[in-house]
């Protein structure tokens, strides 16, 4: 348990200095932050609780991430295996890719207005979580996740050892079987690496996107709203939540991936 020494020390320094400073609207005590964290269902400014806003953010990320994964993997496999398609699209990808996903948000909100998934499914105002998933927001998360997945999938597929393809062919695999039983498993470690980076990026992007004007839900929104109201204990509680969820997402995706890539780096 040696690793707990430094965090505990920092918490003690924090607590003592916050008490001495005596300005909780600027620098709250550890205990005030803990109280917030222990009441995840308390409603803040009629904008929902820590839990409900966190769930909204996670929901947005999951949908955007799944869409980015599907598109990124499919296009990545095509670009990694069809040379002319790659030379046709790669320059464009390289120009668009460095653009921050957040920079897309004003454009995306202008295009999609405040339409939500609920509108997309023709439900109008459905009084479900779907009302909180704005298409513009999804677009930005999609952009954030799409490129890491695309780039890694292309590299994974293009880097499949020619030998494995020849081996598969000599054992009688037809082109479709080569694709499913050789290209996919051989490229899987790279694809999964792309997914891991993309998920982390999506989680960063959503927080930033929710902090923009015009959004009225999500954990990033609550963060800005709390800061505007000088509720620094809530601000820090939200920061703790964002960090923890980021760490958990990364942990879970690594756990899920592990059995698929156990062989990676041990090719003989």
């Amino acid at each position: 348990m040696g690793w707990t020494v430094i965090p505990l020390l920092l918490l003690i320094i924090w607590q003592v200095s916050a008490i001495r400073l005596g300005k909780p609207w600027l620098f709250p005590t550890v205990t005030r932050v803990l109280v917030q964290l222990l009441h995840p269902l308390r409603d803040h400014y009629a904008s929902g609780s820590l839990l409900s806003n966190t769930m909204i953010s996670i929901f947005r990320v999951v949908i955007g991430f799944v869409a980015a994964s599907l598109a990124g993997i499919i296009l990545g496999i095509l670009m990694g295996s069809v040379r002319w398609l790659r030379s046709l699209l790669e320059p464009m990808v390289e120009i668009i890719r460095p653009l921050s996903p957040i920079a897309w948000l004003p454009f995306a909100i202008a295009v999609f207005k405040l339409n939500t998934l609920s509108h997309l499914f023709g439900l109008g105002y459905s009084r479900t979580i779907l009302d909180q998933v704005q298409l513009g927001m999804l677009f930005v998360i999609f952009v954030g996740g799409f490129f890491p997945i695309l780039i890694n999938t292309i590299d994974g597929v293009a880097g499949v050892r020619q030998n494995y393809i020849l081996l598969g062919r000599s054992l009688g695999a037809n082109p479709a079987q080569i694709f499913i039983h050789v290209y996919l498993p051989a490229a899987l470690p790279m694809i999964l690496t792309g997914l891991k980076h993309a998920l982390a990026r999506c989680w960063m992007v959503i927080i930033a996107a929710e902090m923009m004007a015009g959004i009225d839900s999500g954990i990033g929104y609550l963060l800005v709203y709390a800061a505007d109201n000088a509720a620094m204990d809530l601000v820090i509680a939200i920061m703790v939540i964002i960090g923890t969820i980021g760490a958990l997402l990364s942990y879970f995706i690594r756990r899920v991936m592990r059995p698929f890539i156990r062989w990676h780096g041990k090719e003989v």
């Binding site: 050892r161 030998n163 494995y164 020849l166 081996l167 598969g168 062919r169 000599s170 054992l171 009688g172 695999a173 037809n174 079987q177 039983h181 050789v182 498993p185 051989a186 899987l188 156990r262 062989w263 041990k266 090719e267 003989v268």
Partner: protein, 263 residues
Amino acid sequence: MIMRITPNKTVASDRIALSFNDVGKGYTSDIGTRVAALENINLQIDYGQFVTLVGATGCGKTTLLNLAAGIDTSDSGAISLAEDICPKRDVAYVFQHYTLLPWLNVEHNVAFGLKMRGISRKQRINASAELLGQVGLKGYEKAWPHELSGGMRQRASIAQALAINPKLLLMDEPFGALDSSTRRDLQTMLGNLHRDRKMTILFVTHSIDEAVILGDRVIVFSEQPGRILEDQKISLPRPRMPSDAAFTRQFLHIYGLLAETHP
């Protein structure tokens, strides 16, 4: 005992499995010059024959195997397989490196060819277990390729190739990276498998020793361009002993041929 055959003359046989007629193949090197990899290759291989190709590294032996496998195409001449050998179903290839799919365990590697043919899981796993027994890997069904030694990996890849019951087996220096005693064990095993299964084998090696131990015939290759220097029938009794006087004579003869072209 030594039968010399002049190039461009066919081997008399009524049952030819694979034949190369006037095959030529070149490639363009990095600096843009045209290099002939193979020139005037005429070679007929009989059913059930174990033919070894020996020559210096880079003399076009692998190119010849790739042409036979249909991985590569020739610039001139014709390569023909006997009618009952389907290039997609009846030809298997064993490589020197990356011979097993690293994401499958040994059992599933061996069963891979059968899976591609739509054989049921139960049947192919049974077939895989039987083959692994034949190559001395009983008990390693669940092992991963990276957990095996070099010799065991080549045993597994031979089982993988045999699973599709090939009529023609192409082998590209399969034992090239093994230590000498492992190599000897695998040569013996391969010799026995050939005797029992009666398949045609085309085996590339740079070791004269290995070529004479295994082959019914040894094809000696010159380098750049790859040409057949000699087609030698080996009728020494098996198992062959490199310490044997007759063996040594044939070894030295081939050694002399290769030394002449590559001083």
